[in-house]
């Protein structure tokens, strides 16, 4: 029994870690890469969890009708998870109003934060939607008709599926971030006015990121609710978003590996560390101190190491100025700086004799900074 309990504990840790990693990846592409500060991130995860719940549960007259909720479609396995991602993505659409270029980024962030508080209030008070403050319980585990959800094999399978999905999402986001589209997103994050003036549709880019991050968050919620089988408003207060932000900032905003590291360190690490602290003080003391610690970590990291543990990759864009009448007399930056960059910057392999003769100058720019500072209009 002790052995089984240990295995169950490890599986639970891995599933939670995978779910947190998914959520942090969604926030990493929104906040770290595109600079969309979604303080309402948790409502997307919650929406996914509720969607997966009511899609997989039977009608609300089941089990004596002690819960009331909408839908109750009793759909087979992959559909609730897909539905969770779709609902998470669609939920982003109303927030189009907040992410246009007219609204300051911090005002939009406050709007989203308030939306998160209000969504929680609504779901808590309006019982017919998702059973009010008691929340949904007895949410079926995926494929529970074919397998025994209590068996170790099933649980290892669940855990494997979560980690596989997290790895897949990581790979997709990595490809997206390295693509020209990712470069556009970073340009928008670093200076949205410049991106706008270069003809990039800032509203559409931000909305796409809200939808993509929302879908990932929704999926993470759907996976979580399939594992823990219940979901209630007390589990998704606005402060949970702050935990995810702490994870992304500590791991390294703009670096998806950092987001995963942050997910392991902050939500998972904190949850688990508190299990091993011998209980002291009044019952609520340790959770309260945990929140204080998260606040201190956020402020400490923004002050001492704003780039996080794993900083965003420094991106060097190399260009060449060929000799000729159109050659500028002075390159931006002092000549010594160009020289040092010239030694370090790597010219792509292959025969390029024309690019290495006298009169050819190589310049490199490290425009994209490791720190997050949209709206300042400067690169540091």
């Amino acid at each position: 029994m002790g052995h089984n309990a240990a295995i169950f504990y490890i599986i639970t840790l891995l599933v939670y870690g995978g779910v947190d990693a998914l959520a942090c990846l969604g926030l990493s592409i929104q906040f770290g890469v595109a600079g969309v500060t979604n303080f309402g991130f948790i409502i997307f995860q919650a929406a996914g969890a509720y969607a997966a719940g009511v899609l997989s549960m039977p009608g609300d007259s089941a089990n004596g009708g002690f819960q009331s909720y909408i839908a109750g479609l009793d759909l087979p396995f992959p559909l609730p998870w897909i539905g969770a991602a779709v609902v998470g993505g669609l939920l982003a659409l109303p927030f189009t109003l907040l992410v246009g270029k007219r609204l300051r980024g911090d005002f939009a962030a406050v709007g989203l934060l308030v939306a998160a508080v209000m969504a929680n209030l609504l779901v808590t008070n309006y019982r017919p939607l998702f059973n009010g403050s008691a929340g949904l319980s007895l949410v079926p585990a995926p494929l529970q008709d074919s397998f025994d959800p209590q068996s170790t094999g099933y649980q290892w399978g669940y855990c494997g599926a979560v980690i596989l999905l997290a790895a897949l999402v990581y790979y997709l986001l990595h490809r997206l971030t390295e693509s020209p589209y990712g470069r556009t997103l970073r340009a928008m994050r670093d200076n949205d006015v410049v991106a706008d003036s270069l003809g990039k549709n800032v509203l559409s880019l931000r909305l796409s990121m809200l939808v993509l991050g929302g879908a990932i968050a929704g999926l993470s919620g759907g996976i979580l609710v399939g594992f823990i089988n219940l979901w209630a408003p007390s589990g998704w207060g606005y402060a949970e978003t702050v935990v995810l932000f702490a994870a992304v900032i500590i791991g390294g905003a703009g670096n998806h590996k950092g987001a995963i590291l942050g997910a392991i360190l902050v939500p998972l690490g904190f949850l688990e560390a508190s299990r091993f602290i011998p209980p002291f003080g009044s019952p609520g003391l340790i959770p309260a101190l945990q929140w204080v610690a998260i606040g201190l970590l956020i402020i400490g990291f923004i002050w001492f190491r704003p780039q996080g543990i794993l900083p965003e990759k420094r991106r060097v864009n190399i260009g060449f100025v060929l000799p000729g009448p159109q050659r500028p007399e002075r390159l931006p930056g002092s000549s010594t700086k160009v020289a040092t960059l010239c030694r370090r910057c790597r010219v792509p392999p292959g025969p390029q004799p024309r690019l290495r003769g006298p009169g050819v100058r190589c310049f490199a720019s490290t425009r994209v900074s490791p720190r997050f500072h949209p709206n300042t209009g400067t690169a540091r």
Binding site: G35, V110, I294, I298, N375
Partner: protein, 288 residues
């Protein structure tokens, strides 16, 4: 009809508490460009200081004075110790909001670690009910209303007729121009944080009086109302915040009477989001 009247009288009380808080919040934003989301946390810390004094057997109104001083001290420390150093590093407004959220967690849950998770109430006598025309207020409610009126008049006088108020308006409009014109903007910012912090402390303690019982996280939802009032009137606009507070206070309480109390804050939320989406500069702000 009596339902309407009683809901309006509740709305007036909410608006009174809200106006003090919203003016404090908007003044901080005006002179430092910081959306101080830790405002609600400072409110509740001040309310607990008033509680500590009240539980010694001293009148709660002495506690309100102590809360005002606490709010001023904590706000000054917050600006000096956290926001100004971060500003000097040139961090973005977004990162500043994240820092403010971090401070909210530290203050609120630091307080909860000390006082525990149980709700507490002040010991005070509501006093006799007094009829004012068709309205009926308790004595305490009348004190809250008149306190708000006095404070709004004082803020108006400060901003309009004093050198300090002129310097504050100049600093809010253009800090570098104000500095070049010989205004000591650092001092103006410090004084503004002290004044707005005192307003925050007063708002916190009378919020606690009005709410009856309160805990360390009670102001989370009230912060939403403050934000709604501030954004409705236009961020940084003191008169806008007063107007916004009146609209939010009355509409939420009248709405509570006719719809259902559980959703009264949703009205504030809808007004806030609508304002952000349609006119981010607020009712009294300049069009940009």
């Amino acid at each position: 009809m009596s339902l309407l009247l009683s809901s309006i009288s509740f709305g007036l009380i909410t608006a009174a508490v809200l106006s003090i808080a919203a003016v404090g919040f908007t003044l901080q934003f005006a002179v430092t460009d910081v959306l101080n989301l830790a405002f609600g946390a400072v409110m509740i810390v001040s309310a607990y200081v008033a509680y500590a004094i009240n539980s010694l057997g001293v009148s709660v109104w002495v506690g309100v004075v102590a809360a005002a001083m606490t709010g001023a001290v904590v706000s000054l420390a917050l600006n000096r110790g956290v926001y100004t150093p971060f500003k000097r590093r040139g961090i973005s407004p977004i990162a500043m909001v994240i820092v403010a959220l971090g401070m909210t967690l530290i203050l609120e849950f630091g307080l909860q670690a000390i006082v525990g998770a149980d709700s507490v109430s002040y010991r005070l006598n509501q006093g006799p009910n007094i009829g004012l025309g068709s309205f009926r207020f308790s004595l305490v409610q009348l004190v809250i209303l008149s306190l708000a009126l006095v404070i709004m008049t004082a803020v108006h006088a400060l901003l309009r007729y004093s050198r300090l108020g002129k310097a504050m308006r100049a600093t809010a409009a253009n800090p570098s121009l104000a500095r070049n014109s010989g205004i000591r903007t650092d001092q103006v910012v410090t004084v503004t944080w002290a004044i707005s912090g005192a307003l925050c402390g007063i708002a916190g303690s009378i919020f606690a009086i009005d709410a009856g019982s309160f805990g360390a996280t009670s102001t989370d939802l009230f912060l939403v109302l403050i934000l709604a009032a501030v954004f409705l009137g236009g961020p940084g606009q003191a008169y806008g915040a007063m107007l916004g507070a009146a609209i939010i206070g009355l509409s939420t309480e009248v709405g509570a009477a006719y719809i259902t109390p559980a959703y009264k804050d949703v009205i504030a939320f809808v007004l806030l989001l609508g304002m952000l989406a349609l006119r981010p500069t607020g009712l009294l702000g300049n069009r940009t």
